[in-house]
């Protein structure tokens, strides 16, 4: 076989064409609250009436479905896969396909799985697509940077010096003229711009949207929403 093309590469830009803004929620260190911030931001954006998508790309440890409390929903098929709508959010996650079982993948398979999902998912028209990124600065991040082309990065960190140091090491590598980057401190001791307070009630609210919306953390995400999405909404 002399010449081989991967046709998935050529159609991904079409699949993303009707999305006005893509927001990658990252932070590069595990346990900083990327998934909570992603899901809470998607809920808050959708409740303002915007067409909102949420994509959980943390393949090996997807949790957005658990935080949202989704049950018995699955993508439908019509010339591609249509993300199911939950609480006004078009939601796509590998957890649908793994039937919530653990997914053990090496880097090359992670890249293939992401390309496959992006190739077949029909998002349609969206104002915002929030993407929950896995921890680390590796395969997923580079593949997403290459395929998405234009996006905003929300870097979540905690007051821990380890979290700050990792973030400050990586930030210069991703800050280019084409990429908007904003830092959000989670588990903060104080409230304010770019700060989300530590909330001991989070665990008890997981899977229950009504309880989530009463959390201090959710309210801080709402008050920082313009900063997260990079525009006044």
């Amino acid at each position: 076989m002399n010449n081989v093309f991967d046709p998935r590469e050529y159609v991904i830009s079409d699949r993303l064409a009707e999305i006005k803004k893509i927001i990658l929620v990252s932070g590069f260190k595990g346990g900083v609250g990327k998934s909570l911030v992603s899901v809470f931001a998607a809920i808050a954006i959708a409740r303002k009436g915007y067409k909102t998508g949420l994509l959980d790309l943390d393949i090996t440890s997807s949790t957005d479905d658990i935080i949202l409390g989704v049950k018995e929903i699955y993508p439908s098929e019509d010339k591609g896969l249509i993300p199911p709508v939950f609480e006004g959010i078009r939601f796509m996650s590998f957890s649908f396909f793994s039937m919530s079982k653990p997914i053990a993948l090496r880097g090359n398979s992670v890249v293939d799985a992401i390309k496959e999902l992006l190739c077949v998912t029909l998002w349609g028209e969206l104002d915002f697509l929030v993407v929950d990124m896995p921890p680390g600065f590796g395969d997923t991040f580079f593949e997403v940077m290459r395929l998405f082309k234009k996006f905003r990065v929300v870097c979540v960190y905690t007051p821990s010096p380890l979290s700050k140091k990792i973030l400050n090491k990586i930030l210069p590598l991703i800050k280019t003229t084409d990429i908007e980057v904003v830092k959000i401190e989670n588990m903060s001791k104080i409230s304010g711009k770019g700060r989300l307070r530590y909330d001991k009630n989070v665990d008890a609210a997981i899977g229950d949207i009504k309880r989530i919306m009463n959390l201090v953390l959710y309210k801080d995400v709402v008050s920082n929403l313009n900063l997260i999405v990079g525009q006044k909404i």
Partner: protein
């Protein structure tokens, strides 16, 4: 019907790559993708007509072969055939999900590579 999405990716690839124009191309479909070939070829022909493309193609199904990273054992999909409809469906959508539902028949590891027969690709000679 995500066969349409895959057919669309093939047609777009051919439309965008000059080196594929006028060539006989092979559309290789991995066994793991397990697509309905009738729907796929129908979609392909509709899209070719719609986009006024000339495409000389053949479709080849490639058997899946795996190699265990733990013990080195090579095995095929036939040795680990899935009967559960949902599991098959999930592998059909995202072939990597085979690693969720299949283990190495020799050592039961979930750490194996898909050597062949994963998904869709286009080749020409």
């Amino acid at each position: 019907m995500h066969e349409w999405a895959l057919a669309e990716s093939v047609v777009k690839t051919v439309g965008l790559n000059k080196e594929l124009k006028g060539k006989k191309i092979s559309i290789i479909i991995g066994e793991l993708q397990d697509i309905n070939l009738e729907i796929f070829e129908f979609a392909l022909n509709e899209l070719i007509k719609d986009r006024k493309l000339e495409m000389n193609y053949c479709v080849v199904v490639e058997d899946a072969v795996f190699k265990c990273n733990n013990c080195g054992f090579e095995f095929s999909m036939k040795e680990v055939t899935k009967k559960d409809k949902m599991e098959k469906e999930n592998i059909h959508f995202i072939p990597e999900m085979v690693k969720v539902f299949v283990k190495c028949p020799n050592c039961a590891s979930v750490d194996f590579e898909i050597i062949r027969g994963r998904g869709i690709k286009i080749s020409y000679e």
